[in-house]
């Protein structure tokens, strides 16, 4: 870890979240990468597209699934200096969701703008 944190190059990392939170493990394990990655002091952004927008919805109740509700973790991202969360406008609309339905403040952007955000990155991790 010491050796790793000595890496001082700063790159723009974008984590693209494409999947609903509990049907598969991708969303949870993506968040684990974000949390570990935060220690590397890179320029980090998160994107939520497609069913990935469901990861951020309020009122998730996972008791019946016997899985951990990890949506509160998104509220802790600010403490890790991860504050750039982009949500695809078309994805919200297609699912009847509003910005007010989400657990954290986000920037809602068009699919077109999302493409530009992706274009500006050095590293894109897509889950």
């Amino acid at each position: 870890m010491t050796q790793e944190t000595q890496v001082r190059v700063s790159k723009k990392f974008l984590y693209v979240n494409r999947k609903a939170p509990y049907g598969t493990i991708y969303a949870l394990e993506s968040l684990e990468v974000v949390l570990i990655g935060a220690a590397f002091e890179q320029d980090v952004s998160l994107a939520f597209v497609g069913d990935g927008v469901y990861q951020l919805t309020k009122g998730q109740d996972t008791k019946g699934l016997e899985m951990k509700n990890f949506s509160p973790t998104f509220r802790a991202l600010e403490d890790y200096d991860v504050t750039k969360l982009y949500v695809e406008k078309e994805a919200l609309e297609a699912r009847g969701l509003l910005e007010a339905d989400l657990v954290v403040p986000v920037e809602v952007v068009s699919a077109q703008r999302m493409a530009e955000i992706m274009e500006a990155q050095d590293v894109i991790l897509s889950f």
Partner: protein
């Protein structure tokens, strides 16, 4: 060019590991460098030496091991994802009180920091599967 590789799916169910393998082989043949191959999600299952595929099928795990030996590749299995899925080396088996380990030759178990580091150090990080 220096490539980092992320494999997010296990062997056989998905083609991701095959495609990653072909990509790595082609990149090496063209004189590129592979900084690291990181296995995440079910991708950690590419690192179990206990797979016994039918003889007339490709052996996904052995292919990775052979390529690693040939080119000194750094094949890293995510520890957190590996623990969930029962993939461990001797040290992890001992630490967790398990009676066996199953990691294949050429693979090592380490943390997610190795993935981030690959993203930083490589010119391109290429993601397969997920």
């Amino acid at each position: 060019m220096k490539f980092g590789i992320l494999v997010n799916e296990g062997p056989y169910t998905h083609e991701a590991s095959d495609t990653a393998y072909q990509f790595v082989k082609a990149a090496l043949a063209k004189g590129h460098e592979i900084y690291r191959v990181f296995f995440y999600h079910d991708g950690v299952n590419n690192g179990t030496r206990l797979t016994v595929p039918p003889q007339d099928e490709r052996n996904v795990v052995k292919r990775w091991s052979d390529l690693a030996a040939q080119h000194k590749l750094d094949l890293v299995v995510c520890i957190a994802a590996a623990q969930r899925r029962g993939l461990m080396d001797a040290a992890e088996a001992k630490r967790n009180g398990k009676d066996a380990d199953n990691i294949a030759p050429g693979f090592r178990i380490s943390g997610l920091g190795q993935l981030i580091e690959a993203g930083i150090q490589a010119d391109r990080l290429v993601v397969f599967g997920g």
